[in-house]
């Protein structure tokens, strides 16, 4: 049970995790539902698919570009303020999507406003807050929260679809926005706390003696050897480059599939129903995979787990490219599904373990920026090569091959040297640091 200075009640950090999960469930889940609006909005407002797609593409770009800035704001003002304001803006802008009549308003609202707001209520900020509450079980806490976007997609995408059927797309946007504004925002305001010290708690897994008489927050906790005063300090050490470089490849190998999976499956002769079933299995395995990783991340070396996850995804790509027909599609769905969402909690926990908590929002934003840039490059590369080669095997093989580099980069992180888990005083007191 988590260490707690208030007796045997539930550690408050788990409530933070629950609200973090719900925040990501609604914010990212509603965002993922954009696809179901493309056809009804295009038909009613007589837009082309390209116009609507442009809004979506701008949204992806803006979300990637603004992650480091929102992460910086998190580090300055704390998660409660940044995440709450972001949820308010995201909720209002999503509700206002119900009033859209112009493509420019769609681009402005979805492409710029809600995409920027989403950066403030994202894995980056929520993870950074949770990392302040957990040390020994940080991996599990971050992983539970990371399941939020996948669970949100599984629930909110069908909900939006059926709302459009039973009412119309305007009602569906309003309902999604109302969920964010009236459900997630009040919970965030009521329950989120930036630091355990704000309510007289100590972080889970921390040593009481180390914080005796001192409950004012994470900045007063023991710090790892590479703890940074400014976020730019981290750029002078290898781990941030290794983590961000691997995360760049993570973006390459997730977004390329997201954009080109359907045409690839059709090219392989897979039926639409089978492709949907394989993709559904993949979504369910996302959640299974991230929970398993959370359990393992608190017991074993996190860099080894991260390297293994990238290696598993590489194997999935090999199956996709080399195995014929639906065998490759199903094999990929199983292995890639298990690895899909396992990377964010491992990347965040390693960043926190190595660089400390002071600039974790900014550093998480930098890694996520790299992730989104990698994704954009791979999507464009795949389209370019498909137009010239008439097949997806080459771009998929190139993206898959990059996973070898990501895996090596992860395995080669000097976790024992830099991570606070392996510093003698904390490791001995908390029982962590084994299994490297």
């Amino acid at each position: 049970m988590a260490e707690n200075i208030k007796g045997n009640k539930l550690f408050y950090g788990w409530l933070i995790v629950a609200v973090g999960f719900f925040t990501l469930f609604l914010a990212t889940g509603a965002r993922n539902a954009f696809g179901v609006f493309v056809i009804p909005m295009s038909e009613e407002l007589e837009w082309t698919r390209s116009q609507v797609s442009a809004a979506g593409a701008i949204g992806i770009l803006m979300n990637g570009l603004t992650q480091p800035f929102l992460g910086r704001l998190y580090d300055k003002f704390g998660g409660r303020v940044v995440i709450s304001i972001s949820l308010a803006v995201l909720g209002i802008s999503t509700m206002l999507m119900s009033q859209i009549n112009s493509i420019w308003v769609l681009i402005g609202l979805f492409g710029f406003v809600s995409s920027t707001a989403l950066s403030g209520a994202s894995l980056v900020t929520v993870h950074a807050m949770i990392a302040r509450w957990f040390y020994r079980r940080r991996g599990m806490a971050l992983s539970l929260c990371s399941a939020g976007p996948s669970a949100g997609a599984l629930i909110l995408v069908p909900l939006a679809t059926y709302l459009i059927i039973t009412a119309n797309w305007r009602v569906a946007w309003f309902v999604l926005g109302a969920f964010i504004f009236f459900l997630a925002l009040p919970l965030a305001l009521l329950i989120f706390r930036n630091n355990p010290g704000d309510i007289g708690e100590i972080p889970e897994g921390r040593i009481s003696a180390a914080t005796k008489g001192n409950t004012s927050g994470a900045s007063n906790q023991p710090e790892p050897p590479l703890a940074t005063q400014t976020w730019t300090d981290s750029l002078r050490s290898p781990p941030i480059w290794q983590l961000s470089g691997a995360y760049f490849v993570c973006g390459m190998t997730t977004l390329i599939i997201s954009f080109h999976y359907v045409p690839f499956a059709l090219d392989r002769g897979t039926s639409p129903g089978e492709a949907a079933a394989a993709f559904g299995l993949m979504g369910g395995l996302n959640i299974v995979g991230v929970i398993i990783i959370g359990f393992l991340a608190d017991k074993f070396s996190r860099k080894n787990l991260l390297g293994t996850v990238y290696a598993i995804r590489f194997t999935a790509y090999v199956m996709l490219v080399t195995l014929p027909g639906s065998v490759g599609i199903w094999g990929f769905a199983i292995l890639a599904g298990l690895s899909w969402v396992a990377t964010p909690p491992l990347t965040t926990s390693l960043t926190a373990d190595i660089y400390g908590l002071r600039n974790l929002g900014t550093l998480g934003g930098v890694s996520t920026f790299a992730h989104q840039i990698g994704g954009a490059i791979s999507v464009l590369m795949a389209g370019f090569l498909y137009d010239r080669l008439g097949a997806y095997e080459i771009p998929f093989a190139l993206a898959g091959a990059m996973l070898i580099i990501a895996s090596i980069a992860s395995f080669s992180i000097k976790e024992r040297r830099y991570s606070i888990r392996y510093q003698p005083t904390l490791a001995a007191a908390t029982g962590t640091g084994d299994g490297n």
Binding site: K9, Y12, L15, A18, V19, F22, L26, R31, N32, A33, F34, G35, V36, V38, R49, S53, G56, A57, I60, N63, S115, L118, S122, L123, A153, L156, V157, P158, L159, T161, Y162, I165, T166, F179, L183, L187, I191, C250, G251, T254, L255, I257, S258, F259, H260, Y261, V262, P272, G273, A275, A276, A277, F279, G280, M282, W340, H371, Q372, V379, G383
Partner: protein, 66 residues
């Protein structure tokens, strides 16, 4: 090119064609009317904050008694 994906990490919207297939799968498996599915999924969403608030208030009440 249409922005796709429902299972990415961050902000990518879902493919409308794929989502249409998934809807057909749900229809064929569950065999329920769209209104029933909306109510069911809506209740799933509402159950989460209710559960969180219940735990929060229970813990707060217990803590005050300690």
């Amino acid at each position: 090119m249409i922005p796709l994906t429902i299972f990415a990490h961050h902000s990518e919207p879902g493919d409308p064609i794929l989502l249409g297939w998934i809807k057909d799968q749900i229809d064929s498996i569950l065999g329920l009317g769209p209104e029933t599915i909306v109510i069911g999924l809506g209740l799933v969403v509402l159950a989460m904050p209710v559960a969180i608030m219940t735990v929060y208030l229970t813990q707060r009440a217990k803590h005050r008694r300690l």
